[in-house]
Amino acid sequence: MNSYLNKTRPLVFCPGCTHEKITKSLDKAFINLNLPADKTVIVTDIGCSGLFDTFFNVHALHGIHGRALTYASGLKLANPELNVIVTMGDGGLGIGGAHVLASCRKNLDITLIILNNFNFGMTGGQYSATTPTEALVGSGFLNHAEIPIDICAIAESAGATYVDRCSGHDETLPEKIARAIEHKGFSLIETLGMCTGRYTKKNQLTPKALDQMVIDLPSKGGLIEKNQRPEYGERYRALAREKMIFPEAITIEKQIDLKNYREQEVVILGSAGMRIVTAGDLVCYAGLCAGMNVSMKNDYNITVLRGQSVSEILISPEKIGYPGIKSPSVVLALSDEGVQRKKKIFSTLKPDTFVLKEKSVALPETRANVVEIDFRKLKIKKQDWALASLGIMAKEEKAINKTMLKHALKSRFSEKLYQIAMETIEKTI
């Protein structure tokens, strides 16, 4: 192809703006590489660099300030055949810094061209993340109290596999861009340029001065040897291919016929590490084995290894409506932390509520039928108290019975775990 430039959309940059040279260099790079237009997309964000997508006859996605790399990543992951080129100014670089870092770390095969012209051109020449401290810009004195970033150094330390820097007026820019596009992985090329509409009005900057800046800054020659590694998309797909087993939903067949079963509300009050959630699960499975409807809500701390662990279970022959506890039929009080969490319920319990209290646990005043158990005396470890309590519930026929519990354990556990669980439970029966 002779040119990828859209003849009906001529360039609109201010006279002398480096962006025009970079646009033409990008076109030359496309021509040199003979990129298929229908497999190439330019992704841009806001600002003068955000005009690039309109000048080319390739696919285009123009989005929000600083977010171009996020769209580019989605496009590349969804369609690995695409050549994805992102243009971004120093404004987008600042506001979208997290995405630049993530792109360096990920190493998706995307080419990022940063058009650094040291200020926000479109909004009036305010300072950006790359404005020199001494520059005179549209943000008054504010930039005099800050320093500019060196994005190439940042990119290298963030793991970029290809980093290059040059003047936007560099005659070899088309070849440099082409090499960056050809690199398999994330490539970042920073171009230094003149914003004639704003920046150079008060700051002396010439193509020669830009060349000197490139010389003065640490040189980046493309490939960063120490960061070389497989391209992210290929690595992702290789890892994902190993995940071959689709996790089917858990379904539980009705195995027992229960007559006259009435809705039950079971509350298990314990602490982290006591396998409260597993016990709650088992109560649900016991109900499900009998063809009942069940629901379970758990309450535990964000720091999962400490604090209360509470499970609230409903078992009902009817479809369950309100999924909260109204009037518990069974309460297992297995730790003070758990009891404290729900201390308000104890005064509301009915006389026929079955409360199983471990010997060490203190209970608030209640009218309920409290049965005490000393698990330590039975030589049952704390982590098995909840499981052992299910044995007592089953023996007393509170909410579940022995057949239900056995079916639940068989459905939930492997044969080996089932045997171990039954040994614990039998200590209580």
């Binding site: 992704v43 696919h59 123009h62 990543s73 989605g74 496009l75 969804a78 291919r241 009705k254 409506g321």
Partner: protein, 371 residues
């Protein structure tokens, strides 16, 4: 009969898979994280892609890019994440990018309570973007609804080329429950309408419909832009073109609102009171209704599943014979404003609660009985 047993979040993820979702990007946040976990275990074996973004903004950006490459995409978050999604949402709304967004709501404002439920975001989801262009918001009441409404959400997103929200709640998302999936008829899957003519203008469309789609990467070149654009996808300042496009963005959803109104109603004979609710609260309302009926004081109920666009006709028709309307919400009054707007000739009572716990049936009975 075998019952499924899972939490609402897993049901939502399974609904997405059933709808053909093949790309998910999200960022961890309680109480929505288990949607991400589920998608991560389910998508790779199906050949789909699941990514953890570096933040919520990036997650939405990945979804936007993947959707424009033709994928059926979903993301999941909670209120604080919706805040961060906002700028990308405006993009997806204005530039007609199909997306499904699960918002497992928690108690706000701000960081609020990570593990306490509330219907915090009902107005936020509708208005949390620039321009005021309508969006679609569906509210499930239980795990089964999470499954079914997610399929509807994908269908609407694909047909209308817009973001569709599922306004779930911690009390649904993280509650495990049984349901019978075989007992329901699932909606047929709707796919994005592909362009098939000669000259493709990416935003050329009927005045009340979304434009036909071609992915970025197709033989025909595609333009997508967040800027105000004409049918050709280039920026425009022509007031007529702008006005037409703005009107179409509204009209494509507004004109279909009857068809996308999902609800359940339980109208009892000789009742004077109608309770309107949505989400997990409807379950307490139904329980309260049953008890009130036993006590000889029956009420009728209307449970909305489509919150936006507001089901105006359903609200007006259903409420017509009732003298007393009560709205119950798990917040201090958000959707009540829409209902009062629609039922402006009626006295509409309200009860709301914002304390991190479910509204119990007893409270609803108290509201009904304290006339």
């Amino acid at each position: 009969m075998a019952l499924s047993f899972m939490e609402g979040n897993e049901a939502l993820a399974r609904g997405a898979i059933a709808a053909g979702c093949n790309f998910f990007a999200g960022y961890p946040i309680t109480p929505a994280t288990t949607i991400f976990n589920s998608m991560l275990s389910m998508l790779p074996p199906k050949g789909g892609i699941c990514i953890q973004g570096e933040d919520e903004i990036a997650s939405m950006g990945y979804c936007i890019g993947a959707s424009m490459a033709g994928k059926k995409v979903m993301t999941a978050t909670s209120g604080p994440g919706i805040s961060l999604y906002s700028e990308q949402l405006s993009f997806a709304i204005g530039s007609e990018i199909p997306l499904v967004i699960a918002d497992v709501q928690r108690l706000g404002p701000s960081t609020g309570s990570a593990t306490r439920g509330a219907d915090s975001d009902i107005q936020f989801l509708r208005w949390g973007s620039t321009s005021g262009v309508p969006v679609i918001v569906l509210a499930p009441k239980d795990a089964l609804d999470c499954y079914i409404l997610t399929i509807h959400a994908f269908n609407y997103a694909e047909e209308f080329r817009c973001p569709v929200f599922i306004a779930s709640n911690k009390e649904i998302g993280m509650t495990r429950e049984s349901f019978d999936l075989d007992s329901v008829t699932l909606p047929p899957i709707v796919e994005r309408k592909q362009f098939s003519g000669d000259t493709y203008l990416p935003f050329e469309a009927e005045s009340d419909a979304a434009p036909p789609f071609l992915p970025i990467g197709s033989k025909t070149l595609v333009r997508q832009t967040s800027s105000t654009h004409g049918p050709d996808g280039y920026i425009t300042i022509d007031p007529d073109v702008i006005a037409q496009n703005q009107a179409r963005l509204r009209e494509k959803i507004h004109s279909a609102r009857k068809r996308i109104t999902l609800f359940e109603k339980n109208i009892k004979e000789n009742t004077d009171t109608l309770i309107i609710s949505y989400g997990v609260t409807t379950r307490a309302v139904d329980d309260a209704g049953k008890t009130l009926e036993k006590k000889g004081n029956p009420v009728s109920t209307l449970s909305l599943k489509t919150l936006w666009p507001v089901p105006e006709e359903v609200l007006m028709e259903t409420a017509k014979p009732f003298n007393r309307i009560i709205v119950i919400e798990m917040n201090l009054g958000q959707y009540i404003n829409e209902i009062r707007r629609i039922l402006c000739d009626k006295k509409v009572e309200f009860y709301g609660q914002m304390n991190g716990v479910l509204i119990p049936p007893a409270k609803i009975m108290e509201v009904v009985e304290n006339e």
